[in-house]
Every structure is written in C-alpha cells, then in structure tokens.
C-alpha cells in the first residue's frame, strides 16, 4: 500500500511533464488528461485513506523510502514519504478540491489557446503541493514548498502578455522567497542542532518523543520563528501578505486553487506539522498567534474596502488563514481546529472563487462589483452555490464555517488570561467584519439594480449561466461547504482523527462554549445587518465614494505596497545604482588608475631619453659616481 504514496505525487507530475513536452499533439485532449490524472491521484488518496482507517489510531503513520537524495556524511536527505492523519487530510483536500478545479477550468479556459500549458501548470501545482505534505523531512518539504512557489509563479503570470500579471507573478515568487529563506535557515538550525532534519527523529513519531525535547528553548524558539517566517510567506500572513492581492492577476481557477486547496494552506500545515517544536517554544507560539490575530483583522479590513470581487475574496482568505494560524499558535488546544477550519474553508472558499469566476465569465471578465448587481436572476446556479458558500464563510449556524470558526474562537478564549481575552475578542471582531464584507460582496453582486454598462467597444455584457463543466464543481463544493463542518464536528470525529499527530487539550475557557457560540452568532448577524443597511437599501453608486481615510487606506491594502516600496524597493534600487557606479568607478577605476599611473610615469621618464649624447654620458657618469660611492659606503658601514 505504501508504494501508492509516491504515485500520489507521480500522477499529476507525469501529467505536467506530458503536457509540457507533448507538444501540439496534446492540445485536443490535454486538459482532460490532466483532469483525469488529478482524479487518479484523488483515487489513490482515497485508497490510502481507507488503508489508514483500517489501522488502529496509534499506527497510522506510514513511510516510504524511495532513494537517498543528498548524502554527504552526516547530512542525509532522502526521498522518503510519510503519510499520517495530518498529511492524509491534506492529500484528500488537495486532490479532491484540486480535481474539481481542474474540471471547472476545462470550461473556464475553453477559449485560451494556451490551455494545454495551463493544465500542465495546474498538475504541477498539485504535484508540488502533494510532495510538500507527504514529505518525511524538512528538505524534501522545502522541495515541494518551492515547487508550489514555482507553480504559483507560472499560473499567476499565466497571461504573461499583461505586464501587471508578470509583475504580480514575480512579486509572489520573491515575497515567497523571503519566507523560503526562513525555512532554509530553520533547516540549517535543525541540522546544526540535531544533525538531522527528518520529521521522525526531531518531532518524534507515534508517542516516541523526538530530539526536540533535548534542545535548548532558545534554539527551538529560533527554529520556530524561522518556520513562522516561512509560513508567513506561503500563507500570506503579515508582514509577507503583500503578494496575495496581486496574485488575482491569474485566471480565477488559479485563485481558487491557491486560496482553497494549495499554497496558502501550506503555512498552516508547516506550523501544525512542527507542533512538537512550537509546543516547546512558547515565545515562538506567541509570535504565531500575534501574526494570526493581526492578519485576521488586516485581511478583514482590506476585504471591506475592495470593489474588485476577487480582491475582496482575497482579503477574506487572508483573514481566514489568519484564523487558522491563530488557532495553530494556540498549541494543542488549537491545532485540530486550525486544520478543520482549513478544510472547511477549502470547500467554501473554492466555491466562492469558482462562483466569482463564473460571474466574471458571464460579465466579460468584469471584476468591479459596482458594475454588477441583480445577477441572481441571470445565473441562478452560481447564485445558489455562491450563496451557500457565503453563508458558510460567515459562519451561519449549521454550515461548515460555523463549526470550525466557532471552535477557533472558543480556543482563543481558552488560551486563558488577558492573552486569551485579547485573542478571543479579535476573533469575534473578525467574525463580525467577515460577515460585513461578505454580505457586501453578496449584495453588490447578486442583489439590487443591474449596474453594468457597455465597455469601450460598446458591447454590453450579456450575463448568462456558465457551462456544466463549471457549474458541476460549484455544486459539489457547495455540498462540501454545507455539510463538511457538521460531519467533522459530529462527536469530534475530526478531532479524534487528528489527535494522534497534533495532540489535543481542552483549554480552560473563561466563557462557556455556548456563550461563545451565541456571541459569535450575534457578531455575525450584526455584521450582516450593518452591511445590508449600507448596501442593501440604497442604490449603490457606480463610482466609489471617496470614503474615510481608513477606507482609502484599505483600498490600497492598508498601504502595504507603499510601505514596502518606501522601506525596501527604493533604498534597494538606490543601493544597486551606487554599487554599479562603485564597481565601474571604484574598483575598476583603481585598476585603470594604476595603469594610467604607470603610463604617466613612463611618459615622464621618457624625457630623460632626450637624444643628446652628452646627457647620456652624464647619466653614465652620474651612475658611475653613485656606483663607486655606494660600493665604498657598503664597506664603511
């Protein structure tokens, strides 16, 4: 059975390779091939899942050693795969949602002449993400980690002819690189500390304590912080969040893939996977929760201000991931819920994005919500599925989001002490704001008057429902976003499933669970109501009002780019300019100067050679005198 694990990765990878090298021949059916391979990988996932379920809870960690990758004396990096409950969860999410997105893309990208390449990249994305989650050591994880970065680079910049897309892609990759730097430093620290960077030895497996316990807290904190940096990069957490918004330049299915199934979830995976380290490094954990809380609010605020539907959803992703990171930072009380929210979020966020895509599809790729309105009549399926996703994300009781988010807020309070209160309140506020901006999106898009006008060429969009290939995935995802949460929450099945890996403790919440639930729901309703009051009652201006300073800032992603530009880009380019100058004038100048000096010296010395025989004689005579004198001198001294 273990031998299936490599195939998980191999299937989509093979797809990518085939489609890239296959050439025009594959143009006709390439996309179906890709989808099939994704589905196949999902199939393997299910098979393995059933296999795991077959084992008793304590022995659900299976590894598969392929070959030794980089062996240098003490440094042993292997191609070893590891499948346990945690990675299993991810595998299913990735392959499942991933397959649906493939399916969706078949319709969405129908008219793109580079569709084959698009699907190749999608497969590559899956393969990389799968490698990331089934790796058995941090270096192999890093392999997948950067592979994800590459795939996202290729997909975000898929429409390379658009400079904005190319820039966004580059930005995403480079910001992620900063995170990757953290990961590689973490790996170096581990190697220096433990002489290894494999999960088993360091984190311990199946009850057996890993080496992490012997290490000093300082070292562990350092490692933890570096891992956190990495997570920030991939999961678009403050301060490395800036790439996420621009990443919307990619085709919508890509956004769905990035935000729901792959990429951004990687950070949460990393933190949860490294729980053994974080549990021993409280300071690192604090850092994690702070990052989570801040991002949670940051994303929510940004989400409120955006008129671009995808950007608004991006903001929400940021804040939802914030929830997960926050939960993961809470330690054993939070890990399971972080993952749970991650999965549910996977469903509804994918649904929302696909829905958004479907809307754009019907609106000639118009993204400004102020040019939407009243679309529910034109695209009912989209409306329903999107609506369910909406209810799920705002945590409407009974739907997926409700269970997972509620648990997280609970856990936040359960952290205890002032810390617990602060986190809890942040989470609550976040819930309210989430409700607000999602309602806003919903209202602007599907309700009210239709506000779309003809574009430059004067052809007004004719909103219409999308083809089956697109709607079917949306429907399936909608089911997920409705029922998944309940399923998981049902006598804590999900918790029990994950516990062997992440461990679990009941925190001591100052508030009764019920109170928290009520509070949450109240906040949610408040948010919805407010949004309705603002956008639902009065017609929405097509041209956005100036808005408060906060709004304006939020529209500019709370000035993140301005900040980066001022702090990094401008000084950086100034530095390079100076260095270029220094290199040519300074270093080269020195050398050339030396040559010039010799030349000048030569030119001056030449004058002595003035052609007059008598001055030659003089130099000889002088030379003789000096010679005699020095010779005599040598004797006297």
């Amino acid at each position: 059975m273990n031998s299936l694990i490599p195939l998980l990765v191999a299937a989509p990878l093979a797809g990518a390779a085939l489609l890239l090298l296959g050439g025009r021949a594959l143009d006709r059916f390439g996309h179906w091939l890709a989808t099939a391979l994704a589905a196949l990988s999902f199939g393997f996932g299910l098979a393995l899942f059933s296999d795991l379920l077959g084992r008793d809870a304590e022995h659900r960690t299976v590894t598969k050693h392929l070959f030794s990758w980089i062996p240098v004396n003490g440094f042993q990096a292997d191609f070893t795969f590891r499948l346990d409950q945690l990675s299993m969860t991810f595998v299913l999410l990735i392959t499942g949602v991933g397959t649906l997105i493939h399916l969706y893309s078949v319709g969405y990208m129908a008219h793109d002449e580079r569709r084959r390449r698009f699907f190749a990249y999608l497969n590559l994305f899956l393969a990389a993400m799968l490698l990331l989650v089934v790796a058995d050591n941090y270096l192999l994880l890093y392999f997948g980690w950067e592979g994800v970065g590459l795939a996202s680079y290729l997909l975000i910049g898929f429409w390379q002819h658009k400079p904005s897309a190319a820039t966004a892609a580059k930005k995403a990759f480079i910001v992620n690189r900063v995170g990757d730097m953290g990961l590689s430093i973490a790996i170096m620290l581990m190697f220096a500390e433990f002489g290894s960077f494999a999960f088993g030895p360091i984190l311990g497996s199946e009850g057996a304590a890993g080496g992490a316990h012997q290490a000093s807290e300082g070292k562990l904190t350092a490692i933890g912080l570096m891992l956190l940096l990495a997570a920030c990069g991939k999961s678009a957490q403050v301060p490395l969040q800036s790439w996420l918004g621009d990443a919307m330049e990619g085709p919508t299915p890509v956004s769905a893939l990035i935000h729901a199934a792959t990429m951004v979830t990687a950070g949460v995976y990393l933190i949860t996977r490294s729980s053994a380290i974080f549990d021993l490094a409280p300071d690192a954990q604090t850092a994690v929760v702070v990052v989570g809380a801040v991002t949670l609010l940051f994303g929510a605020i940004v989400g409120c201000a955006k008129d671009d539907i995808k950007k608004a959803l991006a903001g929400s992703t940021m804040s939802q991931i914030g929830y997960m990171v926050l939960a993961a930072g809470l330690g054993p009380i939070g890990y399971a819920f972080a993952i749970m929210h991650l999965v549910t979020h996977g469903f509804f966020k994918a649904g929302l994005f696909l829905g958004a895509g479907s809307v754009m599809h019907g609106m000639n790729d118009e993204v400004n919500m102020r040019h939407y309105g009243g679309l529910r009549k034109y695209m009912p399926v989209t409306f329903v599925t999107f609506g369910l996703g909406y209810l799920a994300i705002i945590g409407f009781p009974g739907l997926s989001g409700f269970f997972s988010k509620d648990k997280i807020i609970e856990a936040a309070f359960a952290k205890g002490g002032t810390e617990g209160w602060i986190l809890g309140l942040c989470a609550l506020v976040g819930a309210a704001v989430t409700a607000f901006y999602m309602t806003r999106v919903m209202v602007l898009t599907f309700f009210g008057e239709k506000r779309w006008q003809p574009d430059e060429e004067g052809n007004a969009p004719h909103p219409h429902e999308s083809p089956k290939t697109m709607t079917v995935p949306m429907v399936l995802l909608a089911f997920g976003s409705v029922f998944a949460g309940g399923l998981f929450a049902f006598n804590d099945s999900f918790l029990k499933w994950l516990e062997p890996v992440t461990g679990h403790e009941e925190g001591n919440s100052p508030l009764a669970p019920l109170t928290v639930t009520l509070l949450t729901t109240a906040c949610m309703l408040a948010g919805v109501a407010l949004a309705y009051l603002v956008y639902g009652r009065s017609p929405v201006p097509v041209v956005p009002p100036v808005g408060s300073p906060l709004t304006r800032a939020a529209r500019r992603d709370l000035l993140q780019d301005d900040f980066n530009h001022a702090v990094l880009v401008r000084p950086g380019s100034a530095l390079t300019a100076t260095l270029v100058y220094f290199d040519s004038r300074g270093l080269d100048g020195f050398v050339n100067g030396l040559a010039a000096t010799i030349g000048g010296l030569s030119g001056r010395l030449r004058r002595v050679q003035n052609g007059f025989v008598r001055s030659y004689a003089l130099s000889m005579f002088g030379g003789t005198l000096v010679l005699v004198a020095t010779t005599l001198l040598m004797r006297s001294v």
Binding site: Q609, F612, V613, R614
Partner: protein
C-alpha cells in the same frame, strides 16, 4: 717624491677627461677627452707598475695605446662621415632619435 702623487695626477686627468666629455660639443674634442681618460689610465698603470716593481703595467699601457689608435681610426671614420652629412661636428645636432 712619493709616486702615489702620480696616481692623484692620473685621477685628476681622468676626471678632466670625463668632465670634457660632458661639457664639450664638438665630437672631435669630445673624443679627444676620451683619449685623455685612456691616457690617465695609462699613467696610473705605469705608476702602479713602478709601485709594484713589475712590468705588467707598462706592457698594458702599450696595449692601451694600440687600442686607442684603433679607436681613433674607427671613431674618426664615423665622425667624418657624419660631418660630411651634417656639415657640423657638434654632437648636439645629431639627436633625431629620442624618447
């Protein structure tokens, strides 16, 4: 009289010759100064021959004269030919090649 004084005289002559080479322009004169230096050497040789009581010095002197004569032959040949070209015996005129 102490023969060493002849050495001082020789040195003096030699220096005069050298100085002449440095300050005179006319190639012939310049060349004669060189001859003067050679003769100064001869004087020194003879003196030393006297001091040592051996004949070698004097024999060398004879050789020197012969050599000097040969030098004169070659030297004059060159100087005359260049004089015929330039109608001047000043060594300062011939400095086409420099630097």
């Amino acid at each position: 009289m102490n023969p060493v004084n002849y050495l001082y005289l020789a040195a003096l002559l030699f220096t005069i010759g050298a100085a002449g080479v440095l300050i005179r322009r006319n190639a012939i004169v310049l060349f004669m100064c060189v001859e003067l230096m050679l003769n100064a050497s001869n004087l020194a040789l003879v003196t030393f021959s006297r001091l040592h009581g051996t004949l070698d010095g004097q024999i060398i002197a004879f050789f020197t004269m012969v050599v000097a004569a040969a030098e004169v032959v070659v030297g004059l040949a060159i100087i005359v030919s260049i004089f015929r070209t330039r109608h001047s015996a000043s060594v300062d005129d011939s400095n086409l090649m420099k630097l």
